[in-house]
Assembly symmetry: C2
Homo-oligomer: 232 residues x 2
DNA sequence: ATTATCTATAGATCTATAGATAATGC
DNA sequence: ATTATCTATAGATCTATAGATAATGC
C-alpha cells in the first residue's frame, strides 16, 4: 500500500472491512453496520452483551435476523463494531482537544479537561467497553486494546512535549508513559465509579480536583482549594 | 440484636446467611459454599461468568448439579458469593496493613504499598469483580458496591488521621474522599491494565511510581527518580 | 425418620443458516 | 440476472427442579 493513499476513502472503511460480508455494495454495508452499532450499543448499555439477543439487535436496527447475519458473521462481531465505534469517538474528541490546545502547562490542563468531558459524554458507552471487552475473541480484543494504547499515546505526546520544552521536570520516558495511563484511567474512573462519584461530585468538581492531583505530581505544593459546586 | 453479640459466631456466617438454603446443618452450608466459591472463582477467571455453566461449577466443586441448587438458588447467587469472598480477602489485607502501620507520612506510603501488593496477589479475582458485577441482580450488586465503599473508607481513615495530625495540608473532607478513591482505583488499575503494565513494569516499579504520584499531590516537588527494575 | 445427595429431564432459550421471496438495474 | 432481505427452523445449549436413592442418627 502506497504511503500516501487516496484521500477520498471513507474514514471508517479501513476499520470495518476486517469483517467479511456477502453484500457487494460497500456503501450499504457501511450504512447497515452503522444501524447495527447504533441499535446494539443502546441494548448493551441497558441489558449487557450477554442478555441482549441477536434478534433484539436486528429488530432495533430495523431489519430481520437473517439480514443481520449478512453484515456480521457472529454476535461477537457486533460487539467489536460497537467497541471500535466508541473508541473512534473518544479518539476524535481527544485529538480535537490537542489541536485546539496551545503549548505550555496550561495546554496539559486544557487537554485533561476536554478528555474528561469526552469521558463524561460517552460514560455509558465506555462502561460497555470496560465490561464486555473480555467477551471478544482474541483477534478483536487485541484490536480494542490497541485502540486504548493509541489514545493513551496522545497523552504521552502532550507530556513529552512539555518535558522537552523544559516546563516539566525531566522525568524518564517510562514515567511519562505511566503518567499518561493514569490520566487515561482517571477519566474512565468517572464512568466506572459513577455509582459513587455521581452522587457526591459534579463533573466540574471532578475535573478540578483531578487536574490538581495530576499536575501536583510535577508542580510542587498545591494551595488546597475547596471544591466548589459549578454545574453538572 | 444486642450491640455486643456473642464472639463465637463464625465470621462469614453474617455474610452467607443472606442466601436461603434447604440444608439444616449450617456448618455444612458454610463448607459447601466455600467449595462452590473456590471452584467457581477459578472457572470465572478462566472462562468468565456467562460461559461457565452451573454443571461445570458443581463438578469442579465435587458434587452434582442437584446438590449445588441445595446451597444456592441461582447461578447469580454463586457470583455474589464469589465477589463477596474476594472482597473479604482484600479488606482483610488492607486492615492488617493498617494495624501494622505506624503514624505519620510513612504510614501512608506503607499502607499504599501493602494495598498494591494485595491487589497484585488477587489480580485475577479483582478482574472478575470488575467484569461481572454488572451481571448481579440489584440486591447483590448493591452489597458488592458497599464492600467497595467500605474498603475505600479505610483509606479515608488513614488520610483523615494525617490531616488531623497536621502532617498533611488541611484539605476538606470531599478531597480526602476523592483521594481515597484514587488510591483504590490505582490499585485496581494494576489488574485491569495488566495487559499493558505487566509487559513494561514490575509491581515494585509500579508501587514506587504511584506512591510518588499520590504523595506528590500534597508533598511538593518530587525529585524525579528513575524507575528501576527490582523484581517480578 | 430425617437429612443430604444424585439422576434424569422439563422447559425455555438462542445463535446461525437454508431456502424462499422481494427489489433492483440492465 | 443479480443482489438484498425475509421467514422458518435446525441444532445445540443451559438453568433449575422433581422424584428417586443413599447416608445419618436416634
Amino acid at each position: 500500500m502506497p504511503p500516501n493513499r487516496p484521500p477520498n476513502i471513507p474514514k471508517d472503511q479501513t476499520r470495518t472491512k476486517d469483517i467479511p460480508t456477502q453484500i457487494k455494495d460497500m456503501d450499504l454495508v457501511e450504512r447497515r453496520r452503522r444501524q447495527i452499532v447504533d441499535a446494539a450499543v443502546q441494548l448493551f448499555i441497558e441489558h449487557g452483551f450477554h442478555k441482549t439477543t441477536t434478534r433484539q439487535i436486528a429488530r432495533a436496527a430495523g431489519f430481520s435476523i437473517g439480514s443481520l447475519y449478512e453484515y456480521v458473521a457472529s454476535k461477537e462481531d457486533v460487539l467489536y463494531l460497537v467497541c471500535d465505534a466508541i473508541h473512534a469517538e473518544i479518539e476524535k474528541g481527544v485529538a480535537a482537544a490537542m489541536d485546539r490546545a496551545g503549548s505550555g502547562r496550561d495546554a496539559l490542563a486544557a487537554v485533561i479537561r476536554e478528555y474528561f468531558l469526552v469521558c463524561h459524554k460517552w460514560r455509558e458507552q465506555l462502561l460497555v467497553i470496560y465490561q464486555e471487552t473480555q467477551s471478544l475473541p482474541n483477534q478483536w480484543r487485541k484490536k480494542v486494546l490497541e485502540n486504548e494504547v493509541r489514545i493513551t499515546g496522545l497523552f504521552v505526546r502532550v507530556l513529552a512535549r512539555l518535558v522537552e520544552s523544559g516546563e516539566f521536570p525531566n522525568i524518564d520516558s517510562n514515567s511519562i508513559e505511566l503518567l499518561a495511563h493514569n490520566i487515561s484511567v482517571l477519566g474512565h474512573m468517572w464512568t466506572f465509579r459513577r455509582w459513587f462519584l455521581g452522587r457526591h461530585y459534579s463533573i466540574e468538581d471532578y475535573i478540578q480536583f483531578q487536574t490538581d492531583f495530576i499536575l501536583g505530581f510535577t508542580t510542587g505544593p498545591q494551595t488546597a482549594r475547596p471544591v466548589e459546586d459549578v454545574e453538572n
